[in-house]
């Protein structure tokens, strides 16, 4: 087994935009890092803080939430809630000894496969720089 760190990243992607842009990237045969596992959600605003915290608690190295461009949410302001929620979660993570940079919110439009791929590569790089999550192997007794 190689020693190189292979991150485990979860992306919550809105079905109307980010998920579609990832799909489009696939159709266009653009590659994005295979460390990223996308979870399709009806709206980025549906991603409860608990989903993010649970992913981190289970030992995921990085989490992102991707929603529609500003003012383009299909449910009016789900993406705004997701963005604010992510910002608040980022503010509390260091108190748990977890780097804020492991969590990100990103606006992606459904037709912008290039932006999705660029974001995915950049986030993967950032998580590689951070290394494995400090929660891995941390037993909560």
């Amino acid at each position: 087994m190689s020693d190189e760190f292979r991150p485990n990243i979860i992306g919550f992607a809105c079905q109307w935009c980010a998920y579609q842009s990832a799909d489009l990237a696939g159709t266009l045969k653009y590659e994005y890092p295979s460390t990223i596992k996308l979870i399709r959600v009806p709206c980025s605003g549906r991603v409860d803080s608990a989903f993010v915290l649970e992913a981190l608690a289970l030992g995921v190295d990085g989490v992102f939430v991707a929603g529609c461009p500003e003012a383009e949410c299909h449910y009016r302001f789900g993406n705004r809630i997701a963005k604010i929620r992510t910002a608040m979660l980022r503010n509390i993570l260091p108190e748990f000894g977890i780097e804020s940079a492991r969590l990100r919110f990103e606006h992606v439009s459904s037709s912008d496969a290039v932006k999705f791929v660029e974001f995915a590569k950049e986030f993967d790089k950032q998580i590689r720089k951070l290394g494995p999550t400090p929660l891995r192997g941390d037993k909560h007794e």
Partner: protein
């Protein structure tokens, strides 16, 4: 239910005091009940008395406080064996409570603060408590082991009922006893009215036919509410929406925001996560989030003030080393 027992684990004794706060009503409430074992607060029963009881001899055991010491774990396990029903009584027992905030620190940091750094401590030789020590070269004395983290009772034994509150309001204590005597709910439930603090709050805009407004600034508790509108609307971080309101909005009635001592609403799951969920849905501008972090630099300690040990991430990771990459 006739035979009851009380045990104070990693709590402060406030929950048992809440029984006494029933004052003259205590006699009616306790009618037909016999306290067969209680330590260390209400009576000075001994551990060996408990061990000698038949299994399931006690009808209902009330446990106050979470678990921080091996001694507490041992007694709670013993009480479970000796009792038909076990109640996690008060938010320390159900969710870790205020002592659970120590999970943001390592054991060493806690010892350092308590036995060395606090301004009231005079300990020039750096004497720390040890689990065993030899006295006069022949007597071995022991102290309980201090765990790395506080854990709620239900991580150690099966809990039949949960009662929130820090402490539970005495009217609620009376109700809890009545419910236990007459018709106990399904095992594993919270004993609560099931109404959130907002639901019993006079400041709630919804029953007045109004909608809650967005938060456009942040206020700290030191500031005075401007009128009788909802505290969240005014920018105070009030946790009423996620908290059990068996206190009948005691804090709001004296112009204080709710901090969630009533315990999470049974459907809330991770309490702090729920608090972030509803606050984030009331903010429009990014600037307000920055204002919150300026006003509350340790926000996690505020939103998890009573429930950290039962959270999805129940404390600070032990290999603490935050890297700066962004």
């Amino acid at each position: 239910m006739n035979r009851i027992a009380f045990y104070l684990a990693s709590g402060c004794s406030g929950c048992e005091m809440s029984f006494l706060d029933l004052s003259e009503r205590l006699l009616d409430v306790m009618d037909g009940l016999e306290v067969v074992w209680a330590a260390p607060l209400l009576m000075d029963s001994k551990y060996h008395d408990l061990a000698e009881l038949e299994d399931r001899y006690i009808d209902v055991a009330f446990i106050e406080g979470g678990i921080k010491l091996d001694e507490q774990e041992e007694i709670v396990r013993l009480l479970r064996k000796k009792s038909k029903v076990l109640v996690a009584f008060g938010v320390c027992a159900t969710s870790g409570g205020i002592p659970g905030l120590s999970n943001f620190h390592s054991r060493e940091e806690v010892f350092e603060t308590v036995y060395r750094k606090s301004v009231t401590v005079d300990n020039p030789d750096g004497v720390y408590p040890q689990t065993t020590t030899l006295l006069n070269g022949k007597y071995e004395l022991t102290l309980p082991t201090f765990y790395e983290r506080v854990v709620p009772i239900d991580r150690i034994v099966e809990v039949d009922y949960y009662v929130g509150g820090c402490p539970p309001h005495y009217d609620h204590v009376a109700k809890v006893l009545e419910v236990l005597k007459k018709e106990p709910p399904e095992k594993g439930s919270w004993i609560t009215s099931g109404r959130a603090v907002c639901d019993v709050c006079p400041r709630n805009p919804v029953p007045k036919g109004e909608k809650i407004k967005m938060m456009d600034s942040v206020k700290r508790v030191l500031e005075i509410p401007s009128d009788d509108s909802c505290l969240l609307e005014q920018g105070f971080l009030c946790f009423g929406p996620a908290s059990q309101g068996d206190c009948r909005a005691a804090c709001i009635n004296v112009n204080m925001s709710c901090r969630g001592c009533g315990g999470p609403m049974p459907s809330a799951g991770d309490y702090g996560a729920k608090v972030i969920d509803f606050i984030s849905s009331l903010i429009e501008k990014d600037g307000v989030v920055d204002e919150i972090s300026r006003a509350y630099p340790s926000l996690a300690r505020l939103i998890y003030a009573y429930t950290l040990p039962s959270a999805l991430i129940p404390g600070r990771v032990r290999k603490y080393h935050v890297r700066e990459v962004d």
